[in-house]
């Protein structure tokens, strides 16, 4: 392929990825609709329930994801500049951030489980409806989001390995670009989840 064809096929590949991101936005969008409706019906209880979430942990996760977005974006720069070492280092930081996020999430959830706050528990069944809804949404939304973190993490690891063995390089880095786009989406969703779940007290 000459460079014009190469460029065109890269744009095509990115176009496909963007459309896939649109579908993901609508997937989470359905949950945001449920949140909006339930919130409007049980405003006070949502406020009270959200107080049980730890803002510090949430903020920490937000910061981690923002940093990871910047590092994966910078890794593209590194590949373009043919700086393989920098690219792999930046990707490693991104992957690390992803793991940190998941570990945080694990502790957050464990603490809640320990207090008996999980879907279907006796404690939940005693709580009033707004509370139950809030926590149902909390688990569903952060759970689905965590699943996407895991998928994104897997993609990033694959890209890392391919940069290492030279398959992804300054001439051919579509996989890195698309992997980064997916990762940014995961960040975008959290940017909305954070205030809606943690900050509405």
């Amino acid at each position: 392929m000459n460079s014009v064809e190469e460029h065109n096929s890269n744009v095509t590949a990115r176009f496909g990825m963007w459309i896939f991101l649109f579908t993901e936005i609508f997937l989470f969008g359905g949950l945001f609709i449920v949140y909006a409706v339930m919130r409007s019906k049980h405003d006070a209880e949502f406020h009270a329930a959200a107080a049980h979430l730890n803002v510090v942990v949430g903020a920490f996760n937000t910061i981690i994801l923002l940093i990871s977005s910047s590092t994966v974006a910078m890794s593209i720069t590194a590949v373009q500049k043919q700086d393989k070492k920098m690219a792999t280092r930046l990707l490693l930081v991104t992957i690390l951030c992803a793991f940190l996020f998941l570990i945080n999430k694990y502790f957050e959830w464990s603490l809640k489980f320990h207090h008996g706050i999980y879907p279907g528990s006796d404690v939940m069944l005693e709580l009033n409806r707004g509370y139950v809804l809030f926590f149902s949404l909390y688990y569903f939304m952060t759970g689905l989001h965590a699943l996407h973190i895991i998928i994104g993490l897997t993609i990033l690891i694959i890209v890392y390995l391919k940069i290492n063995n030279g398959q992804v390089n300054h001439k051919n880095y579509v996989l890195l670009e698309n992997g980064a786009l997916y990762w940014h989406l995961v960040d975008l969703i959290w940017i909305f989840l954070f205030p809606l779940l943690y900050l509405i007290t």
């Binding site: 579908t23 969008g29 879907p119 809804l133 569903f140």
Partner: protein, 535 residues
């Protein structure tokens, strides 16, 4: 404009030229034409299965009281009939078969943008179908909730809801990937010189459809996940006891399922728009109006979902809003009908099977569309909601519309796809039987529906029996007609060899051999004018 290329020894897509042989060569091929045939086989299989379930329902409803199956089984039969017909036949239907086969050819490309993703779409379809089978059979508890899986029954029913809903989720994913592929293909793979407004109208229809597939399907995806969460983890978004709202389920469900009906009908309209100019040997009337009305239907159709919910307990404000937009969205569809008929005026009409199926389409689609206005108007909907009237309406639109368009498409493009021609006389006999049978089956349902016959009811009051018996006769004729049609097409594989352009069509598919070679075009075509120049 048609040129007969001397067929040297260019192998067609039907011949083997890879490392693999036989069945393996077909199910691992990323050639859009082979994938289209794979879909054709799968979809035909499920269509026949769906028809058999429909005939079973008709046999049960033919007389009062229990005839063949219990009430519980009847509930399962109409549920599975709906799931198969909607998710496995009508939604993939025209896009997956004819979109796959002809979109790249009509825009002068050698394949879709992402051929491997295309094959993955078919694999997901097969996976979804297998899981649907499992839900049908496992434990003798096929789902009994209706294909719409309304909460709260769907969250409590002892039948195989989770597997049925999982199947629908996976099938949705298949649909999303196909839509994604087609959007990028239309944007990025058109031949040089083919501007948007030189593109034929079937690609316009497929493109509009693809956007609905991509933007609406995720909503039902997440809704079905919420259903599963409610059944498995007591996460109760739709359960009032847990703070939820069952009407919210209906909103979310129809936010997808209404646009889904445009996924069904837009490609159908696209096919008719290709057939009519060819068999009238006239340029299509109002090219731009048809192209833009496809986009308009896709766009406005996104905001009318509440007309399925007029009796649910929604607010009055929402009711009149949805009713108003429902009338608005009827306009672009009507525009198309005017344009088709205007194209025929002073045309040199050739009454071949594809054209006859298209005329039948217009007739049946109009009945379906006009009865839709009765449903879209709140006051009248109060009377007919959840009656046999609705069942008749959507069968006229989906079966009379999309179904007949599918039949039209297969009769139109058959010589191109398979290189042989079928028997016209038998095709016309089949069409006659199908048409008469169809109307006899569904028209009485309008009448008994207005009179009060509910839908999804296993038994009924004696005053409705006449309608059901007429319908059953229609059902039998319809079944015979379908059988003859399929048999005729099957025999056509050994029929006379078809030329490249048997109908004297103008679009790109008729400029290549029948059947087409693997990469469609020997040289990249250069487009200099609009596709419908018959003068």
């Amino acid at each position: 404009m048609s040129s007969e290329k001397t067929k040297i020894n260019i192998p067609s897509y039907l011949d083997n030229h890879g490392k693999r042989k036989g069945l393996m060569a077909w199910i691992t091929s990323t050639d859009h034409k082979r994938i289209a045939i794979l879909y054709l086989c799968s979809i035909s299989f499920f269509f026949i299965l769906g028809v058999l379930l429909g005939e079973l329902m008709r046999a049960e409803l033919n007389r009062l009281g229990q005839q063949l199956i219990s009430a519980q089984t009847y509930n399962a039969v109409f549920t599975v009939h709906g799931i198969i017909m909607i998710f496995l036949v009508v939604i993939p239907g025209l896009s997956a078969v004819f979109g796959n086969f002809f979109l790249p050819i009509l825009i002068g490309a050698k394949d879709v943008a992402f051929p491997k993703l295309n094959l993955l779409s078919w694999y997901l379809y097969v996976l979804g179908a297998c899981i649907a089978f499992y839900s049908l059979a496992a434990g003798g508890k096929p789902p009994d909730t209706g294909w719409s899986f309304y909460a709260p029954y769907s969250t409590q029913s002892g039948s195989n809801v989770i597997s049925a809903v999982t199947a629908a989720f996976i099938l949705g994913f298949s649909s999303i990937l196909t839509g994604l592929n087609f959007i990028v293909t239309v944007h990025r793979m058109r031949a040089p010189g083919m501007t948007w407004f030189r593109m034929p109208l079937f690609p316009w229809a497929i493109y509009s459809t693809a956007w609905i597939q991509v933007l609406a399907t995720p909503i039902i995806g997440i809704t079905l996940l919420m259903l599963i969460a409610e059944r498995l983890f007591s996460i109760g978004f739709f359960n009032p006891a847990l703070g939820g709202d069952p009407i919210l389920y209906q909103h979310l469900f129809w936010i997808y399922s209404h646009p889904a009906v445009y996924v069904m009908i837009l490609p159908a309209m696209g096919v008719i728009t290709e057939i009519i100019p060819t068999f009238c040997q006239r340029r299509i009337f109002g090219y731009k109006a048809i192209a833009l009305s496809s986009l308009a239907i896709a766009f406005v159709g996104y905001f009318v979902w509440g007309h399925h919910m007029f009796t649910s307990g929604m607010s009055n404000t929402a009711q009149w809003f949805f009713s108003f937009l429902t009338f608005v969205v009827a306009v672009p569809s009507a525009i198309k009908v005017f344009n088709w008929v205007a194209t025929m005026y002073k045309g040199s009409i050739d009454l071949k099977p594809p054209f006859l199926y298209s005329v039948a389409f217009i007739f049946l689609f109009m009945i379906g569309g006009l009865t839709g206005l009765i449903l879209g108007s709140i006051a009248t909907d109060m009377q007919v909601h959840d009656t046999a009237f609705v069942v008749a309406h959507f069968h006229y639109i989906i079966f009379g519309g999309m179904g007949f368009a599918f039949f039209a498409a297969i009769h139109y493009w058959y010589p191109k796809m398979f290189g042989h021609m079928y028997n016209f006389k038998v095709a016309n006999i089949a069409l006659g039987l199908i048409f008469i049978g169809f109307n006899l089956l569904y028209f009485p349902q309008f009448i008994i529906g207005i009179q009060g016959m509910p839908r999804r009811y296993f038994d009924y009051l004696p005053q409705f029996q006449w309608g059901h018996q007429l319908s059953t006769i229609g059902g039998i004729l319809l079944g015979i007609g379908i059988f003859i049609m399929i048999f005729n097409l099957f025999k056509g594989r050994k029929g006379p060899i078809a030329p490249a352009n048997p109908w004297n069509g103008n679009t790109l598919e008729w400029q290549i051999s029948s059947p087409p070679p693997e990469e469609n075009f020997e040289e990249v075509p250069e487009i200099k004018s609009s596709p419908y120049n018959y003068d």
